[in-house]
């Protein structure tokens, strides 16, 4: 199994990573229908900007290390990059499908996304926080060699930034690290710099996670 095998990945996939985002998607669709077109934009912002990133972040904390066959996997010539890509990539794909399909639903409910600018701007509202929290979750669990640490870190960052978002947005340095700026403060002057910082930071975190995954003895 040297090469990437989608069939193997799907066979060994944890199904809760599939049904759980789907359950949340359906919950928000129901909430969207109940609250009606008047609030569909708020519901969409809440789902895309906060729910999708939280699910992605905590699931990513478990994606690599929560595997009963991890030691067997380490015994095969599968590279660290492939492991990371397979586990995080599938997770990211599910979040992407969830986010895009919810946008389609919101569009059908006459949601007006003009406050986010272009279509690309809408995508950045969920893409940046999701990548950021997934990177934090992955790096947290790999650096502590414990899935719980990654989940804890993700949950803490999520709630601290959500509750203290005004404080972060008003700080000279803090504004670049507010992961929810795209969805909650789309007119903030530092939005593009914030998104660039977070994407670069996420890539750096994934890179560090990849380096840590090379030291397999830490996880056995």
């Amino acid at each position: 199994m040297k090469r990437f095998s989608l069939r193997y990945s799907l066979l060994t996939y944890r199904l809760d990573q599939l049904w759980f985002p789907l359950a949340f998607w359906m919950l928000f669709v129901i909430i969207g229908v109940i609250r009606g077109p008047e609030y569909i934009l708020d519901t969409t912002r809440a789902y895309l900007g906060t729910v999708v990133p939280l699910i992605g972040g905590i699931m990513a904390a478990y994606a690599v290390l929560d595997d009963p066959a991890l030691e067997l996997r380490f015994a095969t010539p599968i590279s660290a990059a492939q492991t990371l890509f397979e586990r995080i990539g599938l997770l990211f794909l599910i979040q992407t499908v969830s986010a895009l399909s919810f946008q389609a639903f919101a569009f059908l409910m006459n949601a007006d996304f003009s406050m986010f600018g272009s279509w690309g701007g809408v995508q950045l509202t969920w893409l940046v926080p999701t990548l950021s929290l997934m990177a934090i979750g992955t790096l947290g669990s790999l650096s502590a060699a414990q899935t719980m640490a990654g989940a804890l870190l993700t949950g803490l960052v999520w709630i601290v930034e959500l509750i203290a978002r005004g404080w972060f947005a008003g700080q000279k340095v803090g504004q670049y690290f507010l992961v929810f700026m795209g969805s909650l403060m789309p007119d903030h002057p530092a939005l593009r710099a914030n998104q660039l910082t977070l994407v670069l930071l996420s890539l750096a975190f994934f890179f560090l996670g990849w380096r840590l995954l090379h030291r397999q003895e830490r996880f056995i």
């Binding site: 944890r14 809760d16 759980f20 909430i31 609250r35 708020d42 519901t43 809440a46 729910v51 939280l54 699910i55 905590i58 699931m59 904390a61 478990y62 929560d66 502590a144 414990q146 899935t147 719980m148 640490a149 989940a151 804890l152 870190l153 993700t154 949950g155 803490l156 999520w158 709630i159 601290v160 959500l162 509750i163």
Partner: protein, 296 residues
Amino acid sequence: MLQNFGLDLAIQASNKPYHLTCITTGHTLSLEETVSQFFGITRHEFNMSIRRPGMWIAYGLLFLFYGVAVISPSLTGSNDMLFGDQVRQEAGSLVLTLNVFMPLLAGILSADRIQRDFRSGVSELQNSTPMQISSYILAKYLGVLLSVLLPMFCWTMILGLIMVASGQVPPSFMGFLLLAFLTMGIPAHAFVVAFSLACPLVMPLRVYQVLFTGYWFWGNFLSPAVFPSISDTLLNAAGIYSLQAFFGVYFSSPGEAPPSLTTTIQALLNILVLAACISAALFTLDRYLRWQARRA
């Protein structure tokens, strides 16, 4: 107390004052043995839980955050010492501020404490011993609860002492702080720990952690005016009712109508509702573990 949790224990009259018979295994334990077992499991769980480096790192990071954000005199807008009702209000506000994040940490950290016994196969060994399931649940609960309350208590008292030492508040502040810890900190932690022990047995741990993190914000701090929420009901576990009723702190934005006053009865009802939820969670956990033991 043990029987109140629906335990299959029969108290038998014999030469000894009491005998507790575990119906699932048939072993008979004296009351002394049961009490000894209970405190043994509590001590062991507390020691295991408290010795996790990750837990102290997480609480340490939060302490740094609070150290900067809470103690800063600029937040109160003045460097003058607080007096009278302000002291009581400040104590309540400080514990509420801690309650925003501390129970979240406690809930996530507690989530694997019983589940790991199943995952590692320890539960099978436990089933073969004369250990009472009820004692096990209550002792685990108490051990985990104490382990997460310890950092909360330490941080609360250290922050209070720093505020007293820096002259922001008089020494009587510490008494109010203790009262706030008892009425707001303990109920919030007791509530989240009960559910964090029970829920991960019926759902994947990561699913519970996502749900719990989302719930803590949605169910306690999100205004129902913004999004449908239970934060303004008696199910609020963050201590808002106690803060308003016992410490006289009300939050309202400029231009908003002042909130209606919360009575002491409402605050006590809030604590009672939380206690009922805790009992229900532990009772369900007890039934579930019994069912698992019968299936094994």
